[in-house]
């Protein structure tokens, strides 16, 4: 039934070469370039006040996006899997919409909603509110691009589990929130963790959407990926790669968590 040995090893060999060229070497090059002028330069770039400010803003936007989209993701997945109603497919496609939209367009959408030529502009300037080219715009754009992540991870899981257990709990008189906490949550916890991890990864690294709404004000509306771009365009390559290496470390952590989650899932199944 098996293919000939040479077919197997050719396919494995091809895959290893492909992944080495496309994934492993790019990771290595970030680390090598970051350390190319020694540790002193590396730490100077990382501890630069602008880098730290950018990191703060990235953490804030990521936290906001993860919290909002997790609450939404739980509600939306619950609605889509525990009840039947008309227009379910439409609702499900609308939730997936941000996946199909270019990040740059996601940013543009908020510029057109809150920016200079928007309907809201008079109201916003009258009340001295700034959304675009300020922190709220960055948070909104980050929420938009990570919108479906948690929902998408939860729906297949909750669908597979059905609603028998929840219905039984209702019959025994449990309230909605108790059912969620005691019946649903234990069943979906690893899927939820993975959804949150994916959402964090994307939120932390978002570039296009944030770039449109940020206005690139150093120390104010710069996130880590935007800071990398500025350093790179100033030909300050070592510093750019040093800041990038922080995000590489996060990315590797995320991959490790992903694999732990998968392993836990398999063990429980």
């Amino acid at each position: 039934m098996q293919e000939k040995k040479y077919v197997k090893y050719t396919l494995i060999g091809l895959s290893v070469v492909f992944l080495t060229l496309m994934l492993i070497i790019p990771l290595l090059v970030v680390i090598v370039e970051a350390l190319s002028k020694g540790f002193a330069v590396y730490f100077k770039a990382i501890l630069d006040p602008f880098t730290l400010k950018a990191m703060n803003l990235t953490l804030l936007a990521t936290l906001a996006a993860v919290v909002c989209n997790t609450i939404f993701g739980l509600c939306a997945a619950w609605v889509l899997t525990k009840y039947s109603f008309k227009g379910k497919n439409i609702l499900s496609s609308l939730i997936d919409l941000p996946f199909a939209i270019s990040p740059v367009i996601a940013g543009l959408v908020f510029v057109m909603t809150f920016g200079r030529i928007s309907y809201l502009n008079d109201f916003l300037t009258a009340n001295n509110l700034r959304i675009v080219f300020a922190t709220p715009g960055i948070i909104l754009a980050t929420i938009f691009v990570t919108f479906p992540f948690v929902t998408r991870e939860l729906i297949p899981l909750m669908q597979a589990q059905g609603k028998d257990e929840e219905e039984a709990a209702t019959m025994m008189g449990a309230s909605g929130f108790t059912i969620f906490r005691k019946v649903t949550l234990p069943n979906i916890k690893w899927g939820l963790v993975y959804g949150v991890v994916l959402c964090t990864a994307r939120a932390m690294g978002e570039f296009g959407a944030v770039s449109v709404v940020s206005g690139h004000i150093r120390g104010k509306t710069n996130t880590l990926p935007l800071h990398i771009e500025i350093l790179y365009n100033e030909y300050n390559f070592t510093a750019a790669f040093a800041v990038a290496s922080i995000l590489v470390i996060f990315a590797i952590l995320i991959l490790i968590v992903r694999n732990i989650v998968e392993w836990k899932n398999e063990k429980e199944a």
Partner: protein
């Protein structure tokens, strides 16, 4: 019509919140893009969209994304195949690594690939030595789009391949087909729908991709400018309507592509049913 009774409590709260949040974050902003875009008039719209530079950027974005999605489909099938069917030593690491493009910020990928594939880069110097420009060219753009699209096809095919019943392959061998014919005629049709889904997702992602591409593209007008970059440059000139016009065309084209892939899948599942 009888009133539908829902057993599990919480419908009104969760439905209400879902609709409220969806409207606030996605629907109202998208609607204002379309409404504001409608205010520019057909003349301005056509003038922006039919500008040679803009037209060329569509060709570059869609062409490179298509080509990258094809390459990712080939390697996606191979990767899914070796991960499901073979046992070898570093399998776990390969499986874990495939999701890296989801975890690594696009800007980081962008500068890393640019540094690798440029003239003095570790990989680029081999390409430049034989006269191939592997960065600041269409090839550079395609390399970046391959990078960000790697997980889509593999992750879509893997579960299908895992659940595939081995009986059909055995039957095919019994009937005298060789391994390649069995793959082509028995296994491939089974994984084709999920291959199309993965292809569509990788393609859509590639068309809209900005962060990883801008660094390696070189952004030469009429050569290596991508459509999202044209939106950016219109915005930098405060030409909001121009940016919206380009965005609307991109949105329509992307939706048409996703829609036709869904249609093909639907036709195929119907054919299989009969």
């Amino acid at each position: 019509m009888a009133k539908v009774t829902r057993v599990i409590p919480g419908f009104r709260f969760t439905m209400g919140f879902t609709l409220f949040y969806l409207t606030l974050i996605v629907l109202i902003p998208l609607a204002s893009l379309i409404l504001k875009g409608g205010g520019m008039g057909l003349g301005k719209f056509l003038q922006t969209v039919l500008d040679p530079r803009v037209l060329h950027s569509y060709v570059v974005s869609f062409g490179c994304a298509f080509f990258a999605a094809i390459i990712n489909s080939v390697f996606g099938i191979i990767l899914a195949w070796i991960l499901v069917r073979y046992e070898f030593s570093c399998k776990k690491i390969i499986d874990g690594l495939i999701d890296l493009p989801f975890a690594l910020p696009t800007a980081v990928a962008g500068i890393a690939l640019t540094s690798l594939y440029s003239e003095n880069g570790w990989i680029g110097k081999f390409f430049y030595a034989i006269g191939i420009e592997s960065s600041f060219s269409l090839m550079g753009i395609t390399i970046a789009l391959i990078f960000i699209g790697i997980p889509f096809v593999t992750r879509n095919i893997q579960p299908i391949l895992k659940d595939l019943d081995l009986q059909y392959e055995e039957a095919s061998i019994m009937l005298g087909a060789n391994r390649w014919t069995t793959f082509r005629r028995v296994i491939f049709p089974e994984i084709l729908p999920s291959l199309l889904t993965g292809f569509g997702l990788a393609f859509a992602r590639g068309v809209g991709e900005y962060g990883s591409v801008v660094f390696i593209a070189g952004n030469t007008p009429l050569k290596t400018e991508i459509a999202p970059l044209m939106i950016m440059s219109k915005l930098e000139q405060y030409d909001y309507y121009g940016a919206t016009a380009i965005a609307l065309v991109m949105l329509i084209l992307s939706f048409l592509i996703l829609f036709s892939i869904n249609l093909i899948q639907w036709r195929m599942s119907r054919l299989k049913g009969i």
